[in-house]
């Protein structure tokens, strides 16, 4: 084993040209991911979390492209690979689970055909061995009577069962990293709990790392080791999941946590953050959160904060800069 982290994202920037201007969807994002670690990537619509996942797996759709930074898998850059080389990485070393299982399975092929094809593209096994492997995988993800159901078509499965099949597909080639983009958003809550359990169990058995992209802090709390909070394309805060949830540092994370209705709290009013996230063509100068922040001061409107260390976390907020002498009004 090398001493590189499994995945290292440095200063990643993704931009889209639009009417002569460049829109920045992912803005200078950096994080590392260790082997076997589950990193939650959380944020509201338009925060850039899915775009970060798409950049790692090399699926940014034109005209968008990576305009800065680097992505390395075990120390080797993967962001500048040719599309043929990237295909060797995608599926083999990095697996994917998307939000809607109906769109990520081909309706014209049976589950067996799709799984066997995936396995044989990436691993040197015979068709018979691949089929046995596929049945084993379906058993593992909890599909009852897998050896019969493997010859069914996707429409013959329920939503939860389809998402199990997608997880089996993602793990078919024993990847080192799985990117799960809103894997449970289309599912009911009782099915969601089951899918999270399956994903967590299978990845930890294989020591695969997971990037779990979601807007649901509850799912993160259940699953992740560390969490990265995104706002307007930037990382607001990144740290161990318990610290971030119990004791958020960034004012945005604080507001976000307060706005989640909880099963146990009895507070009458939810904390609300005024306004809404800026559009990409209208990101304020300085800290992107400053117009909505309740602790804003002069420096926030002029200078953009980068991630700075604070205890066991990194946070991009001037409140935690040692050189900040001003105090918020």
């Amino acid at each position: 084993m090398s001493d590189h982290p499994l995945l290292s994202v440095k200063n990643l920037t993704v931009q889209f040209p639009s009417r002569g201007a460049m829109l920045t969807a992912v803005d200078n994002v950096s994080f590392d991911l260790a082997r076997g670690e589950v990193l939650g990537l959380v944020g509201e619509s338009g925060a850039g979390k899915s775009m970060t996942g798409a950049a790692i797996i090399g699926l940014i759709e034109s005209p968008g492209r990576i305009t800065g930074g680097s992505i390395s898998l075990e120390g080797r850059r993967i962001d500048n690979l040719s599309s043929a080389n990237m295909r060797q990485v995608r599926g083999r070393r990095i697996g994917m689970v998307f939000q809607d299982p109906l769109t990520s399975l081909n309706p014209l092929f049976t589950i067996a055909e799709q799984l066997v094809e995936t396995i044989r593209v990436h691993l040197p096994v015979s068709a018979k061995e691949a089929r046995e492997r596929a049945i084993g995988l379906l058993n593992e993800v909890g599909i009852p009577a897998a050896s019969q159901r493997i010859d069914d078509y996707p429409h013959q499965f329920s939503g939860g069962m389809r998402q199990r099949v997608v997880i089996a597909l993602a793990l078919a080639a024993e990847p080192e990293l799985v990117i799960a983009d809103e894997p449970t958003t289309a599912l009911d809550v009782s099915v969601q709990a089951q899918i999270i359990d399956v994903l967590k169990k299978l990845c930890s058995e294989r020591n695969a790392s997971v990037i779990l992209i979601t807007h649901d802090m509850g799912v993160i709390a259940e699953t992740a080791d560390r969490v990265a909070v995104m706002y307007a394309g930037r990382l607001a805060e990144i740290g161990p999941v318990r610290s971030v949830i119990k004791d958020a540092l960034h004012p945005y994370t604080k507001g976000l946590m307060g706005s989640i209705p909880s099963l146990t709290s009895t507070d009458d009013r939810l904390v609300q953050i005024p306004g809404s996230m800026p559009r990409l063509n209208n990101i304020p100068e300085g800290c992107a959160f400053n117009p909505r922040c309740n602790q804003v001061f002069a420096r926030c409107t002029k200078e953009r904060p980068e991630l700075m260390h604070c205890g066991n976390r990194e946070v991009s907020c001037w409140l935690y800069d040692e050189n900040t002498s001003e105090v918020p009004a």
């Binding site: 509201e44 009911d188 089951q194 099963l263």
Partner: protein, 333 residues
């Protein structure tokens, strides 16, 4: 406070899911019916929030549509302030219609994109002849927009100029324009981000305090329901399985399905509370299981549950449709 505003009695709705006549003849199939709502009864008192929770296909939205008269019922009664809803048009029905309104799930689909906001908000005013002239109409629209946290000048914009949360505010302003007493809210925040959801939920509670509104609040999200409701009805496959006072339902759920739903909610507070593993999925509603429809997924199921359908029994905080809850009750008394 204890006056009943809405009473729903034995409400049932079946949909005909049969194949076309020729297919039925050739394939020797009978007709197939889906019972989306199955003998549901509940009452809502003035000034309270009654929530219906359940997963997809549990019949929550079908009930909402029947309550406001958008969908006829197959059988059963809906009484609004003592008078039946949904039978014919007539002038008394028109007068009654102004007293209840609905807020829909997606503010992207529920606002006409070709209308200006002021026309959208004014439509109920015109439909119910509630304003005498243009000035009065403009003044009322401005007042409504400010009530929901927008400004009067927003009236001259189109819906696409607003974010999701602001659009839901417009939908709320429209619902309030006819001075209703009762609002049916069908998943009002499930299309919104969580920080915007907090704004809308707070607004709805403020409006309830200010205007004395009564809500029928429909949601799949138990933590949202916990925040909003006084009483909660839990639906499973079209039938009410538990109906109880909100606090009691969360502290001491009586029906195993309620317990399962609570256990399935992700633990965002990281309390490490003990939970049962969730098993199984909702069965096909066209051919529901015999006996109690929940028994294949139930951890407490015994022989009786497989053959006999339970009826509602009184519990400490309300009522539950479960033999296990009934036994607890008997053992306790």
């Amino acid at each position: 406070m204890s006056d009943t505003l809405l009473e729903v009695r034995d409400l049932t709705r079946t949909f005909d899911m049969s194949k076309p006549w020729l297919n039925r003849v050739l394939e020797r199939d009978g007709k197939q019916f889906l019972r989306a709502v199955d003998h549901v009864s509940f009452t809502i008192r003035k000034g309270e929030t009654f929530a219906l929770v359940g997963e997809s296909g549990s019949g929550k939205s079908t009930i909402a549509k029947m309550v406001v008269g958008l969908l006829p019922s197959s059988s059963g009664e809906i009484l609004f302030d003592g008078a039946p809803i949904g039978t014919g048009a007539g002038s008394s029905m028109r007068a009654m219609r102004s007293r209840f309104q609905m807020i829909f799930q997606s503010p992207f689909a529920s606002l006409n994109p070709r209308w200006k906001v002021r026309d959208i908000v004014a439509e109920p005013l015109i439909a119910f002849d509630m304003v005498q002239n243009r000035q009065a109409q403009a003044a009322r629209v401005a007042e409504l927009l400010e009530l929901v946290g927008l400004t009067a000048s927003d009236g001259s914009k189109y819906p696409h100029e607003f974010s999701g949360g602001q659009r839901q505010r417009i939908a709320i302003a429209r619902a309030l324009s006819s001075n209703p007493e009762f609002i049916v809210c069908d998943e009002p925040t499930s299309a919104l981000d969580v920080s915007v959801q907090a704004q809308i939920l707070n607004l709805m509670r403020d409006l309830q305090d200010e205007l004395g509104l009564t809500y029928l609040f429909i949601s799949h999200d138990l933590s949202v329901v916990r925040h909003m409701a006084n009483r909660i009805g839990v639906l499973y496959l079209g039938a009410l399985v538990e109906n109880a006072q909100a606090r009691g339902l969360f502290e001491d759920p009586q029906h195993p399905y309620t317990q399962m739903l609570l256990d399935a909610v992700p633990d965002v507070d990281m309390t490490n509370r003990e939970r049962e593993e969730v098993i199984g999925e909702i069965p096909n509603p066209i051919s529901p299981p015999d006996g109690c429809v929940f028994h294949p997924r139930c951890v407490k199921a015994f022989d009786r549950c497989r053959v006999e359908a339970p009826v509602m029994v009184a519990t400490q905080y309300g009522e539950a449709r479960c033999f296990a809850a009934e036994n607890v009750r008997k053992a306790g008394s």
